[in-house]
């Protein structure tokens, strides 16, 4: 399976762009494995389907890179750096640091995109994960089954940030899965009517992420 076996300039039919130049590139040829591109296609379709009609259609998705020549998942053609999602009337910009933007609606939109990514990719490294990801979201499909893993900082900071943005949990986003985080997560699952077995049942975790994204995209708490 070659790291560059697929070359494409759209995902799920949505054009890719590159914004990290003085003049943004309106065409971007990403390369990855075929399996990884299929997951990107599904993610893109989720972004279009989950958004309310008022957002308008998805216009483009900006990336900072898919396959690049470095060790691990980017070098294997199994990673994608997400800079921005642009619907006709709304945007979510990890590039701008939307995870800590001053408007809650913007932070909720970031949570929604983050959640939808997690339905397809086990490793989503977001703005809360570490300083290297404050300006983009890294997606890769290493890490095993698509379930919640309390031992992964990448999962726990997302749950903590989601609880803060969606139910005002007031948690410290430190990646430690302690009693407060556990309680806040349970509250979110209850309010979304999801059974608590999201660490074992991928179907349940994906349902949780979908319902969370639907609420967040509509700027509604839980």
């Amino acid at each position: 399976m070659a790291a560059t076996e697929r070359a494409y300039r759209t995902i799920g039919g949505v054009p890719l762009r590159y914004l990290r130049t003085e003049r943004p590139l309106t065409q971007y040829y990403a390369r990855s494995t075929a399996e990884f591109e299929d997951k990107l296609d599904a993610f893109s379709q989720d972004l279009a389907e989950a958004a309310p009609r008022s957002y308008g259609p998805l216009l483009y998705i900006a990336t900072a890179g898919a396959y690049v020549n470095k060790p691990k998942y980017h070098g294997l053609g199994r990673a994608f750096d997400l800079d921005l999602v642009r619907w006709e009337h709304k945007r979510c910009s990890p590039l701008r640091g939307d995870h800590e933007y001053r408007w809650r609606a913007t932070r909720r939109r970031y949570i929604a995109v983050d959640a939808l990514a997690r339905r397809r990719f086990k490793y989503v490294l977001d703005g809360w994960y570490n300083g290297a990801h404050r300006d983009h979201m890294h997606l890769d499909d290493g890490g095993g089954a698509l379930v919640f893993n309390a031992g992964y900082r990448s999962d726990t900071v997302f749950v903590q940030a989601s609880a803060n943005v969606m139910i005002n949990a007031g948690l410290v986003v430190d990646g430690l899965y302690g009693p407060k985080t556990r309680r806040a997560f349970a509250t979110m699952k209850d309010r979304l009517e999801i059974a608590h077995r999201v660490s074992r049942d991928a179907r349940l975790y994906r349902a949780f992420l979908w319902r969370l994204a639907l609420r967040a995209l509509r700027n509604k708490g839980l």
Binding site: A2, Y29, A64, K70, N130
Partner: protein
């Protein structure tokens, strides 16, 4: 470059010699747009002759092996990489063929990534890409010995290493996220004995970035790499302070650098189309884009190492399980070899 203020502190140094021939070039498939106009520059001159010496011109990949790095000095050539059985090391014998060496304590190591040579001493790094690199050394013997990690002191993944004036060494690479395994920070380590390394700095201000290669000539050391914002190049005199170089590195990965008779050449790819790119510099501080000819570099080819052998610049790379070796001929183009 948006971090011209970065300065990396380092120890002393000198320089390596081996001038090189060079050239650069590249090739590229693709249409795709570039972010700036390509500037056609005078081609760097090949050092002695305008064609590769017999040694470099005859180099091929070892049978059954994938080269990840090659080093040459004083008429010797060594290479490291992988075979189906794991990490591997070779040297070129008097018959011009690769001879594989035994690697001590390497049973669980999938590959070696970097090698440097100075006099009788060889230093090599490798590992599993997740944990800090391990080191092997050879001082003329046929078996390369592993060095205890506590002695080595490398706390990241080494992508390239080079000798400086025969008695100092500089290694470059990155530090690895313990959860996902991605590099998140570039790193430089230096050594005066080829055994024990110390980090130059704890923070190279790379965002999800890596340092891919290092080259030296005269009093100048050049370190290249890239991160989420594009290519990054630093230079230092006397290895005492690295500062960001200036050049059109945006929307690019810088994946290799070599010394030339006229300074340095760096090679990389366009981020949006994988088109091969090249930059040249006389002093390592100010860089220009060089015209790249279409040629024998395919989109799927990784460039793992660029180095100088007998005055000729060669590159090694390929896909995950195939080895490609290019030589630069007539200062104009990469020529693909087995």
């Amino acid at each position: 470059m948006n971090d011209s203020g970065d300065r990396l502190r380092a120890g002393r140094r000198t320089l390596c010699g081996a001038a090189c021939a060079l050239v650069l070039l590249g090739c590229g498939p693709a249409s795709g747009q570039t972010t700036q106009d390509v500037i056609a520059l005078p081609t760097p001159r090949v050092q002695a002759a305008s064609s590769p010496s017999a040694g470099a011109a005859d180099l091929r990949s070892p049978d059954g092996g994938v080269l990840h790095s090659v080093a040459a000095a004083d008429g010797r050539i060594v290479g490291v990489g992988a075979t189906a059985g794991g990490a591997a090391a070779w040297s070129v014998g008097s018959d011009g063929a690769w001879t594989q060496h035994r690697l001590a304590a390497a049973a669980d190591v999938p590959q070696l990534d970097a090698v440097a040579l100075a006099g009788p001493s060889v230093v090599a790094f490798g590992g599993d890409g997740q944990r800090p690199s391990r080191m092997w050394v050879a001082d003329g013997g046929t078996t390369w010995q592993a060095v205890d990690a506590d002695v080595v002191g490398i706390d990241g993944r080494v992508n390239a290493v080079t000798a400086v004036s025969g008695d100092r060494w500089i290694a470059v690479g990155d530090r690895v996220d313990p959860e996902g395994g991605e590099s998140y920070q570039g790193a430089i380590w230096i050594s005066e004995d080829g055994r024990s390394f110390t980090p130059v700095t704890s923070d190279l201000a790379l965002a999800e970035g890596t340092l891919s290669d290092v080259a030296t000539t005269g009093d100048t050391v050049v370190v290249v790499g890239f991160d989420i914002n594009g290519g990054k190049v630093w230079s230092a005199d006397d290895m005492s302070a690295f500062s960001a170089a200036t050049g059109p590195f945006e929307a690019a990965t810088v994946e290799g650098v070599a010394a030339t008779n006229d300074g340095f050449v760096a090679v990389g790819r366009g981020i949006a189309d994988l088109r091969p790119l090249a930059w040249t510099s006389e002093d390592g501080r100010r860089w220009q884009r060089a015209d790249v000819e279409a040629g024998d570099v395919r989109p799927e080819d990784q460039i793992r190492d660029v180095s100088t052998v007998d005055g000729v610049v060669i590159a090694v790379g390929g896909s995950l399980d195939s080895s490609v070796l290019w030589t630069l001929e007539d200062g104009l183009r990469w020529r693909r070899r087995s």
